[in-house]
Structures are given as C-alpha cells and as structure tokens.
Amino acid sequence: MTLQGWFLILLFVGILLALTKPVGLWLHALYEGRRTPLHLVLGPVERGFYALSGIDPNEEQGWRRYAVHMLLFNVALMLFTYAVLRLQAVLPLNPQGLGAVSEHLAFNTAISFTANTNWQSYGGESTMSNLSQMLGLTIHNFLSAATGIALAFALFRGFARRETKTIGNFWADMTRITLYLLLPICVIYTIFLVASGVPQTLAGVVNVQTLEGARQSILLGPVASQEAIKMLGTNGGGFFNANSAHPFENPTALTNLVQMLSIFLLGFGLTWTFGKAVGNTRQGWAILAAMLVVFTAGVTVTYWQEAAGNPVLHQLGVAGGNMEGKEVRFGIAASALFAVVTTAASCGAVNAMHDSFTALGGMIPLFNMQLGEVVIGGVGAGIYGFLLFAILAVFVAGLMVGRTPEYVGKKIESREVKLTVLAIAVLPLVILGFTALSSVLQQGLAGPLNKGPHGFSEILYAFTSAVANNGSAFAGLTANTPYYNGLLGVAMWVGRFFIIVPMLAIAGSLAAKKYTPESAGSFPTTGGLWVGLLVGIILILGGLTFLPSLALGPIADHLAMIRGQLF
C-alpha cells in the first residue's frame, strides 16, 4: 500500500461528500416535481411524451397501480430489446455483419439490462452490432436507472406522507429523472469521455499495420455515449468484453476516477434526498455514515490484499502487488478501489478482472453483493434496499431495549416487518439454491475455468452477481450456455422484482399511517449508536447467511494460495 494510493481513496470519498448535498437537492426537486432550469429546454419533450401516451402526470397512484405500471413498462422494454437482438442481422448499423443473437443469450441479455444488472454472457465486440448497443442496450441503461430512482421516490413518499393511499405517479417520476437528471449529465459526460480518448463513431473495424509489421484489427463504435450512462446509472454493461479495463472505455487514470465517482454520485445524493423528504437531513447522513463504514472496511481489505500480491508468483521471483488482470495505467490502488466501488454499488463495471484478484481481495466484491447491494447500492435500488434493513434494525432495537419500533415518524408494525423479511429472504435463497444446483449438475460444472475452490467461487460469484443485480463476474466462467443463460436470467428477474413488489407494498402501507412524533420512548435514528446498529444488522445477516459458502470458496482458496497448493 502506498501513500499515493490512500490519497486517491481519500480524494474519491472527499469529492463525493462535497457533491452529496448539491446532487441531493437536485434529486429532491425532481422528487417534489418542481420546475428546474432544464424545463425550459426539455419541458416540451416531457409534455409531448405524456400527450402521445395518454398519461396524466398529476394522477396519484396507489402502490398496486404504481407497481403494475412500472412492471408493464419494464416488460415492454424487455420484449423490445429481445426483438432488437434477435433481428440484429437484418437491422442497419451492423458494420461487422454480425448474425442474430441466439435465443438463450437474447433472453438473458434482455432481462439482464432490464433488471439494471448488465450481466454480460457475451463479448460485446464479437456479438453486438452498433444498433444493438444503442437501441437494445443503451436505452435500458437510462430507463432501468430511472425506474430504480422512481421506486426509491415511491418509498420516500411512503415515509413522508400521512394517511394517504398514494405514493406518486410512476410515469412522471421516471420521465423527469430521465430527462432532467440522467440525460443532461450524460451529454456532458460523453463529451468529456470523447475528449479523453473514448471513441464515438458509427464506423466499425479499423485495420492496423503494427510497427512490427503484423496486422491488428481495432473495433470502434458509439462507445462514449453508452459508457457515460453505463456508469452513472450503475448499469455496468460494457461496449467491449473487457469492460472498463478496455482502454477505449477507460483510457486514463482521470477517466477512471470520474467513472468511479459517477458510480456512487446518485447513490450518495439519494441519501440526502431521503433525509430532506422525511424532514431531517441528519437521517440521510446517518444512512450514508453506515454505508461508508462498511465501504471503507471493504476497500482496506481489498487494497491490502492486492498490494501484498500473490505468494505463488513471489515464489517464482516476481515482485510486488498482484498485477494479473490489472492495467498498468491504473495500478493496484485504483483497481482495488474500483472493484469495491462497483460491487458496493450494483454497477458491475470492472477495470480489472476480479477472477484474478487474490483470494481475499476478490472475496470482498463477492461479500459486498451478498450484503444485498445496500452499501450505496444501485441508483435507487441501494437506498430502498437499505431502508428495508433500517426497518429491520428498528424492529430488532425494539425487541432488545423495549422501545416502540418507529422510523422517521412512522410506526413499524408486523405487516412491514413481514414484507421486509420476505424481500430480504429472496436473496440468499436464490443465490445459495442455484449455486448448490450448479455445483452438482453436469451443465453447471462445465462452466468454471479454474479448478478447485476457485471454480466454486466462479459459480457462487455468478449467481450472487445476478441476484444482487450487479453484473460483474469472475469471468472465467463460461456462462453463454442455455443452462447458465436461463438460470441466471431467472435469478436476475427474481433479484430485481421480487424485492421491488414487497418494497412497494411497504411504501403503500407506510403512506396510510399517521405521523408519530418522536418521544422519549423512540429509539434515536441519527446518532452513532444507530449507525452501529445498522452496520451490525447488515453484517450479521450477510455473515450468517453466506459465511459457509465463502469458506468453501475464497477462504479455502486463500489457504491454498498461501501454502502454494495449486489447482
């Protein structure tokens, strides 16, 4: 570990803390449906969209209506992308002349991008035409992110509103977030990326005569426009197979820092927006503090392990940290930080190959996802997932010290706790169930590249990533098979929508309650004690559920690595 490495990490967190309130304020304006300066330019687009699709943006929706409209929109988008991928061969903007995407891969990819996962069973450059990248995938990067933030707004309203049946209007939330937040940032972001060396063209392959006289083909495309929203929307689906490790996606150390910042930006802002929405910004800062405790611990472990390097290679006379799967322009610190950021948020973009991390360095990204993607988390999804843990935490506090379970002015009762447990239980059931299945079935065992415990880690990582809607991979796993495409597709769908529906039901149930002012009997939810309780609940739930599987994978792998036992 170096001073410069820690400087980068501190700088990263410092910039984000400085941006939390401004971004939170902007999000709060959208939450309340207030006019922004951007309405001057994009207001006509918003009104035009409503008029053409027969939407009344002022219609207030109950939680069921909100859920049904959200779900149907997502299904329509998914079918649209499936069609684009299957028809790729006959559609324009296909300079490489690529054929149709196979049924099972198109199924997997359409779900993957709808669910804000962006798991890639495919290599972008060898599978997707420029049109598929733009029309099939880029739109999901915007709309799955906007859907996530809209859902977070709905839950905020559940906490903030009193004795009402409604939690907002899905179409208005989603459209405003897309037009007045995501799109403008992406326009500026894209221009920055192009200036830094990210291609933005409709051309395809360039043939190169190298200095040594060999031939090399380089693929170009509309990379920057997709890259911007891929990071900002915590999507993570790269234009290229190597994702943000590819120099065309992430050419410099500066673009690397900006990419990491943009993964966390909206997640940080949303914690502030939540505090503002419930009338006490300290509630938001408390949540952010709990997230940062878990995040900092993760960064420390991964950076330490990667900087310490691989003893197996040290034996052969190789010095220094673990550079297998890492790019020289980033080095150890910026790669370790990126890995923890991308898995703490449910982004899943990678600037180094997690599969080749040291055993414990790679365990942290895995564990981050197993905690339920609530350490910052995906845009929207992170905060609504975290609030579920907050509900559980006040419930546990109530049991322990006999306080009335209340949170930000709402009594937490049996219905909310039951729905919360339902939402949280989905994650381990699907992850561990599917991993176990794949560890015994022939089709599952055909997947891993590595042998021994690391092969098991590859399977575990895949299902964890899918259910947590992350999308990063221990990419040695050959996942582009009917078996894995099918099962991972189901896992991604369940991991997204089986949490959303109970969460919306909680929002509806909370909105109907009356306001309970804080009293001497309330458990304070802003101080250090509360932050500690939140961190404890998250770690204990994650730890108890997943430690056995981690022992079989990364921990066994670590013991082998330090003993020099090879597989």
Binding site: L72, L202, V318, G320, S356
Partner: protein, 199 residues
C-alpha cells in the same frame, strides 16, 4: 388490479417507442455528431499514421511487440494476443496451475536476457483487457539492457528515452506508452552497428 393493468398498456407501449427513439437513436447520434465535430481524432480511435498515411496503431489501445528490437508488451489474453476484436483477461485465479505454467517460461526467458533481481509484476502478468497500451517504468528498465545490446545503443541512452516517455498521474500509476516508446527508439540516430544481434 385489472383496471391497473389495462390502463398501463398504452403508456407502456408508447413510452417504450418514444424513449427508444430519444435514448437509443437521437442521443447516440447527436453525441456522435458533436464528438466528430469537436474531437475528431479521439472520436475515431486516436489513430496513429506513418508518413505514407498507413494506420500503424492507436495511442490508446495496445498492440503486440514480441521481437527483440522493441520494448515488448505484457502477456495478453485477448485472442492470440492483442486482438482488438476479443478483449479479455486471463481470468486465472491466484492458485492456478495454468497461471504458474504460463508465468514460469516468461520468467526463464527474462533471466536468460540477463534480468536479475525481483521481476516487475507487469512483466509476466496479463492485463485486464489484453490490450494494455502501457508498461511500468520498471518493466521498461528491465528491458533496457536488451534493447541497448540489440540496437547498439548505450544503456544510458535507452534509460533516457524511458524517462522522457514516462507519464505520471496522482490518480493512477506511472506508466510508459509502448507504442510511443518504440517510435521514439526508431527515431534515434542509428548507431555504428545497427540492428546486429550480438548473439
């Protein structure tokens, strides 16, 4: 519930079409137009051409250097090496026999070249993309003696070029772009006995 469903059908379908047009067509095309207008070189891949106009590479993406006369690039898992159409890392785990089997011959090769002491990590490890355009300065310095010998230069001259081409950033690591470094080598005035291998 039925009413919720039927009321959602039209917005779901129409909004899909409208947003597809805005975000899937208009946005990327507009950005392509802007990018091509303001930063044409970067937008088209930062290509490098020789005097006759032939494209010899990109400053952003790495290309393979395997011969003795040039600074050699890192091992690559992109296709057969530096394949611009199939970027990839090796994805080998830390306790992988295949990893050791790959690294060992590379270590032997460097020892035969006369590199002593601990080897810089990036000299024998594959990058994440398989298209890493850079070397660490330590990696380049480890190759300096060979370059000097093959090209009939002094080691001091080669070290100077490396120092001149090294880029530092407080946000990442010090690195040397291999293509730029090797082009700088080619621009050096020829020494007395150019290109004569000493072995």
């Amino acid at each position: 519930m039925g009413k919720d469903f039927s009321s959602a059908l039209r917005p779901a379908i129409v909004m899909t079409v409208l947003f597809a047009a805005l975000l899937g067509i208009a946005y990327p095309l507009a950005m392509t137009g802007i990018g091509q207008a303001i930063f044409p070189s970067q937008a088209n891949g930062s290509l490098v051409r020789d005097a006759r106009g032939t494209v010899i590479g990109s400053t952003v993406v790495g290309q393979a250097f395997t011969g003795e006369r040039y600074f050699q690039t890192r091992p690559s898992a992109a296709g057969k090496g530096y394949d611009g159409l199939s970027s990839s890392g090796s994805n080998l785990g830390p306790a992988s026999q295949a990893l050791v089997d790959r690294v060992k011959p590379d270590v032997t090769k460097r020892r035969e070249e006369g590199v002593s002491g601990p080897l810089p990590a990036d000299l024998v490890t594959a990058s994440g993309s398989g298209l890493d355009p850079d070397l660490s300065p330590a990696n380049a310095l480890a190759q300096a003696a060979r370059i000097a010998r093959v090209r009939g230069l002094s080691v001091e001259q080669v070290r100077n070029i490396i120092a001149k081409q090294t880029e530092a950033s407080p946000l990442g690591e010090e690195h040397v772009n291999v293509l730029a470094l090797n082009q700088a080598l080619d621009r050096l005035p020829r020494a007395a006995a150019p290109d004569t291998p000493t072995r």
